[in-house]
């Protein structure tokens, strides 16, 4: 399967902070939703900034639709829909005004489709953005991002801070979008339940480095969490552990091969690992 987005060896440092993006590499296959997960400050937005060229990268390559993304790659950006976590549009504009400016910027802007999304999301056409609630603003951003027929959607925490109903509406639109095998989504979020619902792949970033980039089903069916007592934990082979987290009466051990672990450690209970649990053990646990 061809990759719509390929990132190789991406690095970025900031003069004003110690944070560093270290050699980031992953790809988003066509027809897939890539969940990009990590705690606040892990480097999700920096990675997205480097992908979209809003941040100037130090090194590495970003290839989108098979072409390298540079500052002047307007043809590539013409095929990308972007949604950030807050309102992006000037507050005094109405959706109708946004549309009339957008059609001069995007070559494939589809006013009919935009109006269709406005109706679908129950958004008023002629009210100023500043009167919109957060949910309405995010729906407007999604409508605008989809109305120029992009092949790649990049969503930076687009669902955070939204109530479950609005989130569900938006996630359904994303699922509909990737029905076309030539389209993909990079969905950055720390709401792991959203990713459990829609993502095909999960890339986990922590302290500026990629911890893993896997198919969600591999995580779901292969990864497991062993609930150990101290003695059981002490008897375990350390090479089988990806990470562990100590609680008062139990130690949770994350393993990459649930089947093998259940055969090897017959007396230890092994549960399926949710994305949230994997993230918590890897971030808050020890190795």
């Amino acid at each position: 399967m061809n990759a719509i987005l390929e990132i190789q060896g991406l690095a970025k440092t900031y003069e004003s902070s110690d944070f560093r993006l270290n050699n980031i590499s992953f790809s988003v296959p066509s027809g897939a939703i890539m969940g990009f997960v990590g705690e606040n400050g892990a480097g999700k937005s920096t990675t997205i900034g480097c992908i979209l060229n809003t941040l100037i990268k130090d090194s590495g390559t970003v290839r989108i639709f098979g072409k390298e993304m540079t500052a002047d790659s307007t043809d590539i950006r013409d095929g990308i829909g972007v949604v950030y976590d807050t309102n992006c549009f000037p507050e005094h504009l109405t959706p109708v005004e946004i549309s009339s400016a957008m059609r001069l910027i995007y070559s494939k802007w589809d006013n009919g489709l935009f109006k269709e999304y406005l109706r679908k999301f129950k958004l008023p056409e002629k009210k100023k953005v500043k009167t919109f609630s957060r949910g309405m603003t995010m729906k407007l951003a999604v409508a605008a991002a989809l109305s120029h027929h992009p092949n790649l959607l990049v969503l930076d925490e687009a669902t955070s801070g939204l109530d479950p109903i609005v989130r569900d509406d938006i996630l359904d639109v994303f699922l509909e979008f990737v029905q076309d095998e030539n389209k993909s989504i990079l969905l950055s979020s720390h709401i792991t339940s959203d990713l459990e619902k829609v993502a095909d792949y999960i890339t986990f970033i922590h302290q500026g480095s990629i911890i893993f980039s896997e198919k969600k089903d591999v995580l779901k069916y292969n990864y497991g969490v062993m609930r150990c007592k101290s003695a059981q934990f002490a008897a375990m082979d350390k090479e089988d552990m990806l990470a562990y987290r100590k609680h008062d009466y139990q130690i949770d051990v994350l393993v990459a091969d649930k089947q093998a672990a259940s055969k090897k450690y017959r007396d230890i209970v092994i549960d399926n690992a949710s994305i949230e649990e994997i993230m918590l053990i890897l971030v808050k646990g020890e190795k």
């Binding site: 005094h92 504009l93 005004e97 001069l104 910027i105 070559s107």
Partner: protein, 218 residues
């Protein structure tokens, strides 16, 4: 399907964002214009010229500052736009606003001149000087303010920079007038040089802002 023209699209955003304030400014300009048409007063004329030419670019600059409060700038970079298109749209917005105000001023003044002969005499004596003075300040101020604004050097210090740039621009224009008067240059030439210097400063400022913008993180 419409042919895309990114700079025009950004100008449209700029216009729509400023629409509310432009409406209020237009009302003020028209109110002063009507007062001028009725009274023919030279004091109203001076105030009217200042408001009609000075306020529109001022509104655009204020709105550009406000835009920084949202993610609009970052969003623009992720659109199919070159960074230099974005910078060009800042400058074009201000030049268009300045000359739109100038045009409106000219139209109302033209009507005023038909009814007030006394005003005609005063305008002939002072129009070129005062108009070039206001245009000079507006463009010079934009030329100074935009490179500073683009560095985001303390967005919350916007008012300070705004006042500082206004002061410096007015000082430069006054200096040109004073220096011109010292060496007996005809007033028309002084006025013309004010506009030429302001436009040159704006072009230089555009290149500086483009360079800064090209290397900026959003």
């Amino acid at each position: 399907m419409m042919k895309n023209n990114p700079t025009r699209g950004l100008l449209m955003y700029s216009f729509y964002s400023s629409k509310g304030n432009i409406g209020v400014a237009l009302l003020l300009i028209l109110a002063l214009g009507i007062t001028l048409l009725i009274t023919g007063s030279t004091t109203v004329y001076a105030f009217f010229t200042l408001v009609a030419i000075g306020i529109p670019p001022y509104i655009i600059m204020i709105k550009m500052g406000a835009k920084n409060q949202t993610q609009w700038e970052k969003f623009q970079i992720s659109m199919p736009l070159k960074r230099k298109n974005i910078v060009a749209s800042f400058y074009l917005s201000i030049v268009i606003a300045t000359f739109a105000g100038f045009l409106l001023c000219g139209v109302i003044l033209g009507i005023g001149l038909v009814f007030h002969e006394g005003l005609m005499e005063h305008v002939i004596k002072t129009a070129f000087g005062s108009v070039s003075y206001i245009i000079g300040i507006a463009l010079l101020m934009a030329g100074l303010l935009l490179p500073i604004g683009s560095t985001k050097f303390g967005e919350n210090k916007g008012e300070v920079f705004f006042t500082l740039c206004l002061g410096i621009a007015a000082g430069i224009v006054l200096l040109i007038q004073w220096a011109g008067g010292k060496v007996d240059i005809p007033p028309a030439i002084i006025s013309l040089s004010q506009i030429v210097i302001a436009l040159t400063a704006l072009v230089i400022s555009y290149y500086i802002t483009s360079k800064i913008y090209a290397k900026m993180d959003f």
